[in-house]
Symmetry: C2
Amino acid sequence: MKYGQFDATKKEYVIQTPNTPLPWINYLGTQEFFGMISNSGGGYCFMIDARKQRLTRYRYNNVPMDSGGRYLYIKDDQTGKMWAPGWMPVKADLDVYECRHGLGYTVITGEKDAIRVSTRYFVPFNESCEIWETDITNTGKRKKSFTLFSFVEFCGWEALNDATNLQRTLNLGEVEVDGSVIYHLTEYRERRNHFAYFAASEKIAGYDTDSESFLGRYNGFHEPRVVAEGKSRNSVACGWNPCGSHSIRITLKPGETRKMNFMLGYAQNPENEKFSAPGVLNKKRVRVTLKKYLNRKNSEKAFENVVKQWEELTGRFQVETPYKNLDMMVNTWNQYQCVTTYNMARSTSYYETGIGRGIGYRDACQDLYGAVHIMPPERSRTRILELAAIQWRNGATYHQYQQLDKKGNATIGVGFNDDPLWLILGTATYIKETGDWSILEEQAQFDNNPKDTATLYEHLIISVKHIMEHRGPHKLPLVGRADWNDCLNLIMTSIKPGDTFQGDATHASLKDKIGSVPESLMIAGQFVWAVGEFMRMAQHKKDRKNEKMAAAAVKEMQAAIIKHGWDGEWFVRAFDRFGKKVGSRENPEGKIFAESHGWIGMASVGKENGMLEKALDSVKERLFSRHGIVLQQPAYTKYNFYLGEMTSYPPGVKENGGIFCQPTGWLTISECNVGRGDQAMEYYKSICPAERESISDVHRCEPYVYAQMIAGPDSARFGEAKNSWLTGTAASSFLAVSQYILGIKPEYDGLLIDPCIPKGWKGFRVHRKFRNATYEINVVNPSHVSKGVKSVTVDGKTLAGCILPDFKDGKHHKVEVVMG
Amino acid sequence: MKYGQFDATKKEYVIQTPNTPLPWINYLGTQEFFGMISNSGGGYCFMIDARKQRLTRYRYNNVPMDSGGRYLYIKDDQTGKMWAPGWMPVKADLDVYECRHGLGYTVITGEKDAIRVSTRYFVPFNESCEIWETDITNTGKRKKSFTLFSFVEFCGWEALNDATNLQRTLNLGEVEVDGSVIYHLTEYRERRNHFAYFAASEKIAGYDTDSESFLGRYNGFHEPRVVAEGKSRNSVACGWNPCGSHSIRITLKPGETRKMNFMLGYAQNPENEKFSAPGVLNKKRVRVTLKKYLNRKNSEKAFENVVKQWEELTGRFQVETPYKNLDMMVNTWNQYQCVTTYNMARSTSYYETGIGRGIGYRDACQDLYGAVHIMPPERSRTRILELAAIQWRNGATYHQYQQLDKKGNATIGVGFNDDPLWLILGTATYIKETGDWSILEEQAQFDNNPKDTATLYEHLIISVKHIMEHRGPHKLPLVGRADWNDCLNLIMTSIKPGDTFQGDATHASLKDKIGSVPESLMIAGQFVWAVGEFMRMAQHKKDRKNEKMAAAAVKEMQAAIIKHGWDGEWFVRAFDRFGKKVGSRENPEGKIFAESHGWIGMASVGKENGMLEKALDSVKERLFSRHGIVLQQPAYTKYNFYLGEMTSYPPGVKENGGIFCQPTGWLTISECNVGRGDQAMEYYKSICPAERESISDVHRCEPYVYAQMIAGPDSARFGEAKNSWLTGTAASSFLAVSQYILGIKPEYDGLLIDPCIPKGWKGFRVHRKFRNATYEINVVNPSHVSKGVKSVTVDGKTLAGCILPDFKDGKHHKVEVVMG
């Protein structure tokens, strides 16, 4: 069944049945202050770092599911009933329920017994708070009087500590109540100079700041004592669990609406201005913000700004094709997800608990594919240089770095051998989008050492050489601790429960015999692609020596793939510590893998001799299911410590035969590379969230964003998605559909037009801002081909070739493309 | 109000009102398999390690409070109602509710609409399972038919990972159902060779193993869909959240009772016998256990054994005094808590989340005071030698070690300068109880290095020297990173939120100027006491050289305390990094502290010149409140990073003016040392749990065990306890009451009789097993003195002095003591 539908005009997803199979969430905020909000108001917010500065508490994987969030309660004088406009947590039947997730905001509306409560949640640009604009309407024919209660539960800032160090944390809670503003001051007395607040624009009848006082002993969020009694207790938290709750008495004539604002925010004071009197919070600064946004006129203006900003961001790429779900995803949701993924890394979602804090090397570069055209170029530039700075002199890179200090994460260390290549790919992506070659000349540190630096270009040379110097017996790249498939672990022998599968930074196996044998075909394919990009940079710099070095390396790698990687009908995945094939017809299980084909296909290796097409046919035949492309088949039925974590999963999930959605993007690209537009589209559709909306009871995750994984045919839950939102799938799918299917491809010298579409398509339109110009591209396909461009005219003039010039003129340009 | 009462005959605490202010818990198990159970069935169980091998899931500090546990539900055919005999989680009103916490078992009974369900939970000796013996009775006059549902939620073994690594864990869940046995097999396919099971003795009508299937989407534990529908769904978990639930159809005639057993346990198979067929659990071994304990006769026998064992354990020390609450605590609950504290270290309680795994150096030695007379001597002996082995050659000791590998915890490191003295005190406690001097000759490693060992006696010499070599400007012991008061931190300057307050093992301040200034009067007092014990050992070994060394050191330390530690009316607490007094009339806040007086008083320093009595008067005047002795006064109103974490707490809680209960024990001893039995008793009573039973709504924690802390007068929650069960208070109070008030004191040569009682007492009786004899001691106090023994007769013969001989004859001896 469906639980909602897309509203294309408003760029919203509209949920009308509250008990979605899983909480369907949205994000608020884009800069420093972020929130996660589910369709029934669950979730939390934080400032910059979801672990270290969490404002409100959220208990993951709780019972009931999605407990805790931004709650409003109504206690109706006439009926005596208590209910919540977001359905949760009370779950009282509503006469009307609607949740509208938009770009950067969510509107939740609930109505019962003629009281309608509608709240719009968003974070204003350049502010560290979220605003709840609540409109309350009497939709009936009699006067209604009732009490509205707000509720949030505060977090003691450091989220893991808050959940585990109870012998300390349950003693710390402190609050201050001033008029309609509740200040959460836990640890403000000591080393924090920041605090949280929860404010109401209205005169309040009462408040509560102590959870137990509000809820009542042994009560759940669904049955707060204070709401049942219709009266706040004016509790002042002293340790235990501080919360914020206002009560507001409301009487409405039929048809009357009352508008009010709530604000939930973070503020700080200078160290020497923390207190206005001993123990009294200095409220001077925060009052300015409060005054501004508790005013509805100002908050509405701020909201309009948020909408405008998102329109501008996503407006850089808009399409109109015969396939409406594609348009829906590309124009709105896929781009939105790409930005969210870029902002959140893999920190905060319904599955990521916000306490693992690193930004992944590979992830950050992957995410650029989807976000580089949207983000201000400085942000991408900065991130690439931060990534360069956690590379070692020998070319290895840390696998993660911390957002706050930008330092490589020494605990996790180096040795994921695809990482250095991602630096090349990230840099290429950036230059192609922006035309900013100067980034190559920027100095970047090695291992965060200010005394040891080189240009980014030199970092890239070192990356190339690092892979060439770390090859195995078949002259293919060593896999190290893992490549993109973090769970294919070929060097560790993990036997004890709880032991790492990948080995650690200092693990001897990295240097010993075992580490010098296992090879990855995925990295080999990636190498061909990435070093091809590097060659192009060397050409630009007229660095003949390294251009030649790179060309030779690519040739050598291609030859090794063809010679050692071919298994007869497809490419193998890897070689293990014994030099034996992984992903070969010789194996009883795990005969064929998606990843190596994705990257060999993206790099077009084996295209000339027909191997690639044959291999892609095998992928289709053996890995493609109605829910997407399975990572490998047959799934492993037993744990095999020579293969690692992959085989620790039950068959059909995650890396053991699950449908990891990201490779579906890669294989879509690969199909485009061999010119098979219909097949590419079939792959694209198979995991397209909007396409899966109609099977929401199977898919379960949000129908507007990609999930990391869908259970494969070996699982009893075939077709069920998990881990939505924060996945490289967002970027991979965007890359596939925008640059390969639609074929609007930023190149170093301009915008290449090279579509690969279903033959049935008559054409499509693209609106694309690129560097400093806007291209209105109309593609027609009179001969119903998948690939091939017969002519391109720009502003009425025929173009030689398919690369639209880099106009740099800030103007609109009409582009007519005829395929054939 | 009271929520229950003591049943002295059965040695049980009986709760009759289920909504206790906080969950009132009990422990099941004493060897490897442990459980925590609240009065309404909340809690969890684990095998050996609460973090690494947790069987069932428990979400700490949840809403509702105490959610998740061992649940039974009834769905009554006649009324259609659903309810739970433990009240939680359904919270339906019960006609009868009773929880009986006994030693090692808990019985929960609930009755509604003529169905009575009574379940006895316990862990048999030498088994890794808990048994639920459930008796169901029709107490009415008509036939009753209904369905009983059981429910537990499984944990994915590693508790922190289970709660946070959702992108992995939600994919792992696997189960197998075989008849009435549900097997939880998560990760069994890979590196675990152990599994959990939940079995019923009855033929079941159905089962569920998937939480969402059982509960229903967005439902809480209080409203499981399956129970509401009256029918199991026979769900088989595939990832997500595995659970175990049986449904059993029951029809009872009036007065009829049906008895059944459930078993929740841990089992393992040899690595090569994990499966009986591919993917099928080998059940051969576990079936033997299942068959045994699903049989009620066998389980009843096992239960009787548990009761008998606890009677033997606590029976080694039994008293009869004019003060019934003292008897209740000493004879049963205080001893029970001491054993629990010894078993659990500080791992698993309602406040300790079971994921911090170290055994504290200081804690382990403290706990011995309360447990050494109960535990088999080998266990105490082993633990002392384990503690010796984490000492460094220079005398410093790690602050914690891990239960599984016995290694010093390098992350936490060394530098808590009271630790080395605890090794002496622990050893003394052991020798005095057992007479086993041979422990001194045991070889023990340094820093867990098998190549670097010395006798325990040499370790003790090194401990003494370490303190002497680490003294500050006043020749008093350096405090290091902290002494007993972990939150009085004199060497770190912690400014950033989240930074450690105590510094870390490698922190430069330990070696620099700052670290070489701050001194602790608490350690000074402890030194006098501990090194006094060491002297006695040196005498025994005829090691004149070290006896002399120790005597001189004690003298020097006593002189330094008197000279530099006296503040005029009391002793100071410490000297800070500037050499200034902490805990002095010179300070505006924190003028006087409890800890230094506890230890100086226990060591009787300043007794001769009247300082001690004067200081203890000051303690009474300035620190004693109606809820116990406050740690320091006045509380700090501001954070002071020269004093550390202590000042991070709001006034009145924890180390900032809270009533830390352990020092109350020390000061009780100190009062006995100056002969003031009435004052000692007043202190003892002030924190005595049974005494506080009548103010349960203020105290909130269990009235049968000590809590770590009670909020002090500066807190809005004055009198409220926190962190019950796992606290050194258990042992300190037992030491105070048994050895100092009652004065039954194990000494090296025998059992010393030296009571210090309230003058009003006419006498008391003590039954004491000591080494290999039993002493039936009758003390009479005809002259109504507090202290002083006029005569002692043993088996009719007058004894010279007060030390009962060490008979070593396995016999009973009658001891008559006349005070005066």
